[in-house]
Symmetry: C2
Subunit: 353 residues, 2 copies
């Protein structure tokens, strides 16, 4: 039995420590950039795919300090008590820069991380946001195949990683502090548009502020929906309308209401077909994101491109070359080499994705 | 003398009807998709490039009904009176669908369109937003080489075309109606973030509403700037801060103040180096946008991709194939064909851009 076959077996049929080890090994394999590992990883994914897709995928975002870890720990334990198995993954494209992700760090979730019905994995490190997101998506399939029926994907509330997480989950939840000034920022960054649920966390710290924030964000969401989404112009009970809730994760307050809203969302969006449509959109976009990324990487590695790109870029920046003409020059070298240029495509030395 | 050499000569040294005809012919050549035309067009662009870049590029956006044509007509005539030459271009990616662009339609700008110191060209039709934008950028170079020192690029206030226009101009201006409810919409769509100037047009229709709108948008811009752009956290007089103005284009009111703001923007951003930096960013992004687009087009035309993509896409959508594995399968066929597959790259039959 090959190693890969063993991890597949362990993920699908193992239990306890055997399964956990198989999951960890499988995800490590997925995160490897070695071409032979990549082939093994694809075989593993193909074997696990039929057993995946049955979890609820919950995206979670919020700025540092909003209490994400505490919220996930409290929610995770709440769900485990009710018979669920909970996996926590993370998307943090900055982890390669900062030299280590704090997201998904087990020490932040003391009780959840040691629970046998939870599996916590930090963000893959290195590479572009697209690459980090792709590895997390693949890790999600592994967790699902292993029987985790709730997968939480967390990210920090800065930059483009929210979009990536919203694009890989069934429901995207934004955590906010009870600070009224935040709502315009979230609207500005387009995050509110992604949110299916907004949670005012640490509501117990300042109940009045939390209630004000809830009202303001609710009204902002209504205004956004009114013009931006034709289907929510009238209150249509067959589709989900984004909702704002107050929670105090530390005190354990509001978790039941939160989970009830999630369940309601799931039932409604399953019945009206929107959950299935969302997953289809996500799958198609994921495929094309990987194609675009692979094309660009192969392009950048092409010998003629490598040789000519720096000078052409300089010329473009200095206004000595028309950008579109420079693009066509490079594309021509990449796509249709003449006799005087090296072969169009170098033998791939690394995995394109 | 070839036709192309004649158009170059006409654009650079012609005058009156001769130059107008050369500009029109040159732009038509740029918009052609025939490969031999594309080669000629690139030669033309290379010849004109050294004579371009000296205009002020003014982006203009606003929803239908906001009075863009009236504004451009009034502004254009105002500028011509002051010795400028004004070109008006348009980006309307919907024009291929609707069967003809209304943007840049000469009949909407009766006096400007017949003025010998103005040149108006409707949006290129057909293709993606990226393709339409690329052709407009190239047309802009032609107009600049012909001596037009103000180039106005207009677009409708819907979809992603605002970003494309902001990315090809020195200053991006959003036209708004004196309707207080609009500001959240513009913030939501990320348009306000693009705006260097906001114009409340038709201010004379409801002066009170216009003044309220001006105050609200000013305050929204300040809030957006406060957190989002570190450089505007304090009022720094050496950089531009987005400004909101009232104009009544039909009555000709507010145009002088508008143009004074534009001039101030230009002086400030030239002195602090931000205008040059903006153009460099735009040039680099334009080149890469064309490269990505060309790569994707070549990929889509590859025989193995054409053959396998439909079934693989179906499998991905139905959850029978992992999206990233499907992407790698197709990339492998495109980049490194085995003996059993057709050649990696078909001879290009059309221009990749």
């Amino acid at each position: 039995m090959t190693d890969t076959a063993r991890w597949i077996e362990g993920v699908l049929h193992g239990s306890g420590a055997v399964q956990r080890r198989a999951i960890a090994k499988a995800i490590t394999l997925l995160e490897s950039t070695r071409p032979d590992h990549r082939r093994e990883a694809d075989a593993l994914l193909n074997a696990l795919l039929p057993h995946s897709g049955r979890s609820l995928r919950l995206g979670l975002s919020g700025v540092p300090g909003v209490g994400k870890s505490t919220f996930i720990e409290a929610l995770g334990l709440y769900l485990i008590e009710r018979g669920h198995r909970v996996a926590v993954l993370a998307v943090d494209p900055s982890s390669s820069v900062s030299g280590g992700s704090i997201l998904g760090d087990k020490t932040r979730m003391e009780k959840l991380s040691v629970h046998e019905r939870a599996y916590i994995r930090p963000s893959p490190s290195g590479g572009t946001l697209g690459g980090v997101a792709a590895k997390t998506r693949e890790a999600m399939l592994v967790c699902e195949a292993a029987g985790y029926d709730i997968v939480i994907v967390e990210t920090v509330g800065v930059g483009q990683s929210e979009t990536a997480v919203a694009d890989m989950t069934d429901l995207f939840c934004v955590l906010q502090l009870p600070n009224a000034g935040d709502d315009l920022q979230a609207i500005k960054k387009g995050i509110m548009e992604l949110a299916d649920l907004v949670v005012i966390n640490k509501a117990d710290l300042d109940p009045d502020a939390a209630t004000r924030a809830q009202a303001q964000i609710t009204s902002a969401l209504r205004l956004l929906g009114l013009h931006g989404r034709p289907d929510t112009a009238h209150h249509d009970a067959t589709v989900w309308h984004p909702r704002v809730l107050q929670v105090s994760a530390l005190a354990g307050e509001g978790l039941a209401a939160f989970w009830q809203a999630v369940e309601e969302y799931r039932q409604l969006q399953t019945a009206n077909g929107r959950l299935a449509a969302r997953r289809q959109r996500q799958a198609r976009a994921w495929m094309w994101e990987r194609i675009d990324s692979g094309l660009r990487e192969a392009f950048a590695q092409h010998p003629v491109v490598r040789e000519r790109l720096p000078a052409l870029t300089d010329a473009v920046l200095q206004g000595r070359e028309v950008p579109s003409v420079a693009a066509r020059t490079l594309l021509q070298a990449f796509l249709a080499p003449g006799a005087d240029t090296p072969p169009a495509v170098a033998t791939p030395t690394g995995a394109p994705c």
